[in-house]
């Protein structure tokens, strides 16, 4: 090989890659060239074929047709190990970690370090893991049980795992989908470090701001087809989004002012102990009010207590909390979600796959689950009554499904989320708790969810919304409260809120504790 030719050899060449699954063509004759050392973003809605493309590149799946070249050599991977040997590491969107193993054991899973005696060298693995995690500005203990970590930290472990192989090509499949702004920022620093070493990066993301900040070139996929590849400088986020959805969509530029109704939820001095943890409290003296027809945003970094706050209100956390919660003026203390459900509180959980969806039940059963008594005829469930029952929320939320009895696992993430929101709308709630509802949902569906949530709120629902994306909160919420390490550190009205101020409050920079319901004349 000649020196001049070397630089010109692309890191990855894909030609005519086709992959079919029963009933779907996931990839249809996709060709793509990734130059060595570039950061190449792959954009597309869910189901566009991005993940399948990455699985083929990393040897998880084999294409039905097409050729693949890595650093100029034709390859055909029969497993992830072969892809790894070719220098390709992938950070999966869906975490592939063993919950019960310590962090370090996960990082070295399948490539365990050995001592002279051939035993697993846990100490060396832990030291190496600690170094890798430190590179990511992550303070997770290498000996900690992986399943006990929050999603954001688990994702960083996954990234550390990919880094540990010293790959020349790193594929990142929506790496920031579960990360907070701060964690995303430290990931971007890591990416910069990798690029300085000459690593080629394939970056799959929905987030236009990230893509346009990081990428050299952008490839857009739609419905399994290659739409186009462009230089970042030659295009705009709006244009790319348009190619992704096949139409020009307006960015969600804020909502019109809503009318605030009566106070529905009154939280005072909510404190949730955290036994055996240095911080002592998951939530510490949180107070706020929530009104009908209002969206109250909850901002905070991973681990700030957003999910715990919602779970405590919903009766899903340890019943050891102190303080008071009043629902429509009456004090409540739910010890089980079923009580919250009956009282008119609904919660859409953060981790859709783990905590929301029933993969073995069809679409209708997933939607009707909390309101089955409404589908009874003569004391027995009636299929037609159930279909009738769920047709309302399915229409209202705009679920796109082949039919009420289609498999729910066949729907896109956005449609699954709409099913779950529909499930809770059927219970006719007064308070809707939404825990990061647009996580892992594609752009088009995100905009639809925003419109849906806005509409629900206008119909008089009180909405408590958390999000790991600040722009989302800024666009949707009437007011935003900020949690930092379990404490409420600031409350912002929509006019005065901006990313800078919220981040300062979330990182504990600004201490603006204005007492209970600071902005609310009571």
């Amino acid at each position: 090989m000649k020196g001049t030719a070397l630089a010109a050899v692309p890191a990855i060449v894909m030609r005519g890659i086709t992959k079919r699954f029963p009933g779907v063509v996931a990839l249809d004759d996709v060709s793509l060239e990734v130059a060595a050392g570039e950061l190449h973003a792959i954009c597309g809605e869910n189901g566009a074929g991005k993940s399948t493309l990455m699985k083929i590149l990393s040897g998880v799946q084999r294409p039905d047709a097409g050729d693949l070249e890595v650093h100029g050599r034709p390859v055909r991977f029969r497993g992830t190990r072969e892809a790894e040997q070719a220098g390709i590491a992938i950070i999966h969107q869906e975490l592939a970690l063993v919950d019960d193993l310590p962090v370090a054991a996960n990082v070295f899973l399948g490539r365990e370090r050995r001592t002279a005696l051939g035993l697993v060298d846990d100490r060396a693995q832990a030291d190496e893991t600690a170094r890798l995690l430190a590179d990511l500005d992550c303070t997770v203990d290498p000996w900690a049980r992986t399943g006990g970590l929050r999603v954001g930290d688990q994702q960083l472990v996954e990234i550390a795992k990919a880094l540990s192989v010293n790959a020349s090509i790193v594929v990142m499949d929506e790496p920031t989908s579960a990360l907070t702004e701060a964690e995303s920022a430290r990931l971007e620093r890591t990416i910069a470090r990798l690029r300085a070493r000459g690593t080629t990066i394939l970056y799959i993301s929905h987030k236009m701001d990230e893509v346009f900040r990081l990428a050299d070139r952008i490839t857009v996929l739609r419905d399994g087809r290659h739409v186009r590849t462009v230089d970042r400088v030659a295009t705009t986020p709006r244009e790319v989004t348009g190619w992704m959805v096949g139409r020009d969509i307006a960015g969600h530029d804020g909502v019109r002012r809503r009318l605030r109704g009566d106070r529905v939820l009154e939280v005072r001095d909510l404190t949730l102990p955290w036994p055996g943890h240095a911080r002592g409290r998951r939530l510490d003296g949180v107070s706020f009010d929530l009104h009908a027809g209002e969206i109250l945003g909850v901002a905070g970094l991973m681990g700030a207590g957003r999910t715990e706050l919602l779970e405590t209100i919903f009766g899903a956390s340890d019943p050891t909390w102190t303080g008071s919660i009043r629902l429509a003026g009456r004090p409540v203390r739910f010890t089980h979600p079923s009580e919250a459900c009956r009282a008119g509180v609904a919660m859409v959980t953060e981790d859709r796959k783990r905590l929301g969806l029933f993969p073995d039940l069809d679409v209708a059963a997933n939607v009707s689950l909390c309101s089955l008594t409404k589908a009874l005829r003569n004391g027995l469930l009636s299929r037609s009554a159930e279909e009738h029952l769920v047709s309302g929320p399915i229409r209202a939320t705009g679920v796109k499904a082949p039919g009420p009895h289609a498999a729910v696992t066949g729907l896109s993430g956005g449609n699954q989320q709409k099913c779950i929101i529909g499930r809770w709308l059927l219970t006719e709630p007064r308070v809707l708790l939404l825990d990061d509802p647009t996580r892992g949902v594609d752009v088009g569906a995100k905009a639809e969810l925003y419109t849906l949530i806005d509409g629900l709120c206008r119909d008089g629902l009180a909405v408590l919304l958390t999000s790991s994306e600040l722009p989302e909160l800024l666009a949707l919420a009437d007011r935003i409260i900020v949690l930092s390490e379990g404490r409420l550190t600031a409350t912002f009205d929509r006019q005065e809120a901006n990313e800078q101020a919220i981040m300062e409050a979330a990182t504990g920079g600004a201490r603006r504790v204005d007492g209970p319901g600071a902005q609310v004349p009571t």
Binding site: L355, G356, F358, C370, L381, H405
Partner: protein, 407 residues
């Protein structure tokens, strides 16, 4: 993943896999009728039918219980011991209430029989409650909780039997003869267990497909954390599942007493829990929960008994010798066939690498040995060598096929 829609009212009664199972049952019966040199299916069709029906009904009754537990995401290993305990509780209750009649092999009267049967069902309720308590409150894994009762209940039943016989009869005994005409009638009228099985199947099917509770069972088994967060009282649903499992086993235990005219805690129902689980799995239940149907389990139970009967008819030895072997083979083959389409699509190989290489002689020796014992050593050797050659060719074909597509 296959698309498991639920079998709610209006949904098709049988799913594709269940039609296949039905066809397999018919095929097994036809094959036995042709291959059996005594032609017992032709000569004595009613006797054969009665045999299969009784055995299938007895197995099916508590297999339905196991099905509910499995769909709810649990497992009940204690059914066999529950059968023994149920029989013992029934017999000891009757012995305590009517010691003279029991000792003299005389009728004890309907009131005493009813008391005995109710005591058994109550025992089932209590054991189910114990399971649910251990699983939900103590948070034992279901496997551990019911493993403990699998071992413990049989011993408990024996101790109960011995202490009751010591108190009410001259000698302590590990079994109690039951001679009441009620139990004789149950034994002689095979339609009784069949009718009870059919009724129970219909009830279970209604519960699972047409009630809120049944939907909650499916939801619990499919995703327990999500079920709780959807406001389902998961602990209560588990309570129902384990009580249903234990009470169906208790009901089956009464029929075993009738069948054998004796309550024998040492051996009655031994190992039957695994047959029940096997019937459920052959019928399409997934041990990870959330998936399974009543028609599937009914067909699974019938299929197991038909195949066991077929083997005993064709090779003319006691069915009990090969029962376990047959159940094992049927389970492996049924579950393999259910996912063979997936395997082919995923490009998975049956005999990959060193493991595949070692599996070839293992399967050949196993098959050869079974045939040698059932038929003749010569046939066994032929089977073994044949299997070895065929599997070898399959491996070669697989290796080549993968190599071709890889290059």
């Amino acid at each position: 993943m296959p698309s498991h829609s639920r079998g709610a009212g209006g949904a098709p009664l049988l799913r594709p896999g269940e039609w296949t199972l039905l066809a397999a049952i018919v095929a097994a019966v036809v094959f036995t009728a042709l291959a059996d040199s005594n032609h017992s299916y032709w000569q004595r069709p009613l006797d054969s039918l009665r045999d299969i029906a009784r055995n299938a009904a007895l197995l099916g009754i508590f297999a339905l219980g196991s099905t509910v537990v499995i769909i709810a995401g649990g497992i009940d290993l204690s059914a066999g011991s529950m059968i023994a305990l149920s029989g013992t509780v029934c017999a000891t209750t009757m012995l305590a209430l009517a010691p003279a009649e029991m000792a003299g092999f005389k009728p004890v009267g309907p009131a005493v029989v009813a008391a005995g049967c109710l005591a058994s069902l109550l025992a089932g309720f209590l054991v189910g409650t114990l399971h649910a308590w251990l699983v939900t409150t103590i948070r034992l894994p279901p496997f551990i909780a019911t493993l403990a009762t699998l071992v413990g209940l049989r011993s408990f039943a024996r101790a109960l039997c011995e202490s009751t016989t010591a108190a009410f009869t001259p000698t302590k005994s590990a079994l109690i003869n039951v001679a009441d005409p009620f139990f004789k009638a149950v034994r002689d009228n095979v339609w009784v267990p069949v009718a009870v099985f059919a009724l129970l199947a219909v009830i279970t099917w209604l519960i699972l497909t047409r009630t809120v509770l049944g939907r909650h069972v499916h939801a619990l088994g499919g995703n327990e954390a999500a079920a709780r967060l959807a406001g389902i009282r998961t602990d209560n649903v588990k309570w129902f599942a384990y009580v249903f499992g234990a009470m169906t086993a208790a009901l089956a235990g009464l029929f075993y007493v009738g069948n054998e005219s004796v309550a024998a805690p040492v051996n009655q129902g031994r190992g039957h829990e695994l047959n029940a689980i096997a019937a459920a799995v052959v019928g399409g239940c997934s041990l990870s929960g959330g998936v399974g149907t009543v028609p599937g389990t009914v067909l699974g139970a019938v299929f197991l008994r038909v195949v066991i009967d077929a083997v005993s008819k064709i090779i003319k030895t006691g069915a009990d010798v090969y029962e376990g072997l047959i159940v094992g083979i049927v389970v492996v083959v049924a579950v393999t066939l259910a996912q063979i389409g997936q395997m082919a699509r995923g490009g998975r190989r049956l005999l990959p690498g060193a493991l595949g290489l070692c599996a070839i002689p293992t399967l050949a020796v196993l098959g050869g040995a079974v045939v040698a014992m059932m038929a003749s050593p010569r046939a066994g050797a032929a089977t073994g060598i044949g299997a070895f050659v065929l599997l070898g060719l399959l491996r070669r074909w697989e290796t080549r096929h993968t190599a071709v597509s890889a290059s």
